[in-house]
Point group: C2
Chain length 235, copies 2
Amino acid sequence: MNTTRGIPERELMHRHFEYELDGLKSNIIKIASLAEEAIARSIRSLLEQKKEVAYEVIEFDKQIDAYEIVIDNHVVDILALQQPVAVDLRFILAASKINNDLERIGDHAVNIAESALVLANAPHIKPLVDIPIMADTTKHMLRDAIDAFIHRDAQKARLVLEKDDTIDNLNKKIVGDLVALMRKEPSTIDQALDLIRVSRNLERVADLTTNIAEQVIFMAEARVVKHHLNELPEK
Amino acid sequence: MNTTRGIPERELMHRHFEYELDGLKSNIIKIASLAEEAIARSIRSLLEQKKEVAYEVIEFDKQIDAYEIVIDNHVVDILALQQPVAVDLRFILAASKINNDLERIGDHAVNIAESALVLANAPHIKPLVDIPIMADTTKHMLRDAIDAFIHRDAQKARLVLEKDDTIDNLNKKIVGDLVALMRKEPSTIDQALDLIRVSRNLERVADLTTNIAEQVIFMAEARVVKHHLNELPEK
């Protein structure tokens, strides 16, 4: 048996693989926290009408973009050098897709910050009550989805999917209220459109978060829930 | 040397791998043509105010979803059984991400069809001139991006990225015109919002298409253009 300092070679390779996987998990946690932070800041810049915070979000996105590339290269290296199979292969492929989803969440934070910049030029046309609720719900969905990924917890991921209806309903309510306001007060049209844009961007963030949850279930159960949520057996 | 019917084993394995890669390419071409068809039909349902065509698009999306899953599983199988490295590994990872982007394009066709259903209830508030131009430009971008992928042609992919500005400008013009109309005629607000939704969905399709082009460049040149387009040397 080949050994290095008394440790069998196969065991060494396995330890090295575990080390690489842990590194990949840490990187995903890191980019997820950057994406979460970007959304939180973009909403703060909107609510508090702080342009400097909005500019920070736009600048901050470069860090997220850079992180995505680091993780993409890490994925290629692990696949090429370790040639994992079965569950590990699915975990790494899921990490690759989740990485992409998280980078896109950063892009939506930039879109929200851009609307916040415009909306900081005048008092808000209405008190913003539902948008912070939507942002908060999205944040918890994202945390749960990432936690489900790290712990390969399909049940927790499934709970994330269920929350997506809450988000869709909040978005409909926000858009409906704003359309009513535009109709009553056509002078509010421009600002109302930017608020609708914010709401739709949050809805897209929640969509991307459900994508992440779907990846976790796909990976953990090695079957496809995506597009088949209603056909799943009860837990 | 191990041989089977006179063909060396290594050569047999290589042929099998080429066969699998060709299958993956065919699958990507197939799902891309389904996505392109979905967008074309959704725009036709809007322009001709044909509800039955809009319903077809919504129904048709199930085929695209099913195809995405077939391709996802194909990617896992190739990676697990063939353990490719270097350029082939990057090609397969690119296929996996492009697959995901194409499925999302199908989702945007559904969004457009949903707006078309609402907009079929009354005559259009204005002649739709820019939306078909935008749809047509997007279609050509998508075809070129897929062609660039199949032929690993980074230069062609780069041309796709350049067209994204045209799309952004068309979207701005469409939204601007509709906002002006809403302000002049508040009774058009509902329909104008649905037309803005169509335009933004087409913009997202073009974004996803540029993602595909970026994957091709990443794969073909094994370096990252994503987020760094301006830093690239001139061809």
